[in-house]
Symmetry: C2
Subunit: 396 residues, 2 copies
Amino acid sequence: MCGTEACLIKCSPVPCVTPETRENGTLINWDTLINLDHGDPVMYESYWRKMGNRCDITFSGYQSLSYFANAKNLCWFLEPKLEEEIKRLHNVVGNAIVDDHYIVVGTGSSQLIQAALYALSPTDEPEPISVVSAAPFYSSYPEVTDFVRSGLYKWAGDARNFEKDGPYIEFITSPNNPDGVTREPVVNGIQGILIHDLAYYWPQYTAITSPAKYDVMLFTVSKCTGHAGSRIGWALVRDKEVARKMTKFMEISTIGVSKEAQLRAAKILGLISDSCLDPTLENFFEYSQSHMTKRWQRLREVVKSSDLFTLQKYPLQYCHFTRDFYESHPAFAWLMCKGSEDDLEKLLKGYKIQTRSGRKFGSDPKCVRISMLSRDEDFNIFLQRLMSIQGVTNGN
Amino acid sequence: MCGTEACLIKCSPVPCVTPETRENGTLINWDTLINLDHGDPVMYESYWRKMGNRCDITFSGYQSLSYFANAKNLCWFLEPKLEEEIKRLHNVVGNAIVDDHYIVVGTGSSQLIQAALYALSPTDEPEPISVVSAAPFYSSYPEVTDFVRSGLYKWAGDARNFEKDGPYIEFITSPNNPDGVTREPVVNGIQGILIHDLAYYWPQYTAITSPAKYDVMLFTVSKCTGHAGSRIGWALVRDKEVARKMTKFMEISTIGVSKEAQLRAAKILGLISDSCLDPTLENFFEYSQSHMTKRWQRLREVVKSSDLFTLQKYPLQYCHFTRDFYESHPAFAWLMCKGSEDDLEKLLKGYKIQTRSGRKFGSDPKCVRISMLSRDEDFNIFLQRLMSIQGVTNGN
């Protein structure tokens, strides 16, 4: 940084740093927006490249023509190999009880969120059931709940402000998206129906303090292994009728889930389990923990040297998977503006950093959610641009 | 057939025929239900086996991690290779105009049906828009339209009985599921919005009389190539804003469509186009036309020699793809009972043939829909059982 007036906030965004080149050869110059709005988990590509052809999977033209994967299973389109690898991975990591639960596979966990709402909503009520989550909540919940104006369920906002009597559905996202905080139910009403969204309850993001054992638990390959393009999620469901209704939802809405994606996900989850057990393989969670830890350290240093921003803090917790203490390193940074700036998303966009405003999470526009799962070169430029806003020297 | 009393209707279902063995070694005896309820297109496996490894596709662990396929495309999750092969196949077959249409990919055409309803429904009306289709209509339309009790759209039944003023959405399925008939709009109201479901407009089922050019056209890999397990469908959409809203539906409901399934579908569609142009390859449509023609001939012979049943008839039409006249050989047989039996599904189930009642298509329970796309051995047993009901001699 040159430290001149031009480097100061709002005067001349992001000066004095040499343009960089992406791996694919495209130049990132200062006109290029760095998109950290979505949680696109491309950071994990480096691990999978190191694994070479260990995860290769080949499909012949004559395979997987049928709609059915296992007609005898309650979830008749679930590939048996994926079911096996999901169970194995949860047992290896210890982050969820699977033995007394049914597995329902979905086209990403978005579809499972809708399937769970469909399965858990009363069908005999005149009014749709209220759906809530404590702010800041995952920005998709309101949209996914309301986009077709269902008469079964209706978004009712921040769980902390919910005071209606009667049944309701509460999403508990833990660790939370956007802020990474470990969560418990908030409303605690007698007729509460809970959906635990555990997309981020994996060792690279947070300590595994005990195996989760809830009625409905949602997971996704996207945030576990980084394979967001596959669109594979799964639900662990205690009650048979709820699992049956969720399966019915999948049947009506998409007649099951892509077999190619399921079989590839099985292979990938299988390798992750192997990597935790076979010392000749690089442990996936150690690799990604190490990456997340370094990124968070660098971000915290940049933020620390600033008067403008603060970050969410996390406690040190004992992780039963790594058998060590671990501080959460969430998939998103929840950045807050201490200054007079009212719209942090807008401020950062001026510096070519695309983030998602706290407003979209039912929270303060002085906050933004920033993906921590971008490629290295994008993350580096993000830090440089953040520093340039603050006018501080890069300590790294 | 022995021709004894035991062979006659309702006395002793399906006697005197030797049990058969499936390709996978399991025995089909007379206790085994032959399931022709679903249109599971496993008939096509034989073609794809003959193609050997020509359609093999391998995925490495580091591929397709991102949510995005082409951020610059309106449908940002559509793989460019799939887009290219969809356009190429339509041009080769001549069954749809693609050049002035947007392509939106979906998790099967079921999801596209919902996306189209979402995109085409008015958002400023107090009441949901009526959705209709002429009976017999595809049995999923009522369920897909109403399952989450949308406030945007609502199933209003048989298009022929629809007399309400104002806007409505009409599904035109052509050739029709279940009865294979070529269709036109029925309501013809001033404010009608049309969705053309062209899942079966391929040369193995019907003559390609001209390239379809409608506002919204739906297709699916399942019924074109037989790869139902992949869950890939596509919409050709004339209006940019409608295509954008359909894409938005996919984004909210499943954040896109599996990349593995898209890339494999691209490979498979590509081979089909190649097979039409390269004389060293067995032409996919000729192969499947020949299969469908033989099956329909055999079924018509069985039905002809019976006093109990009749089948839908189809005109001979000139097919611009094969440059020859062709009579439709639909993916489903629409079988009608001439006798006093009121519930044909029940009658056939007594003979261990699972079909789908006309009732589910908004039609007469004296009719059933029967899949013509089963494996050869199941189709053979179906014919034997059908003969045994009638007490006629097998002419084949």
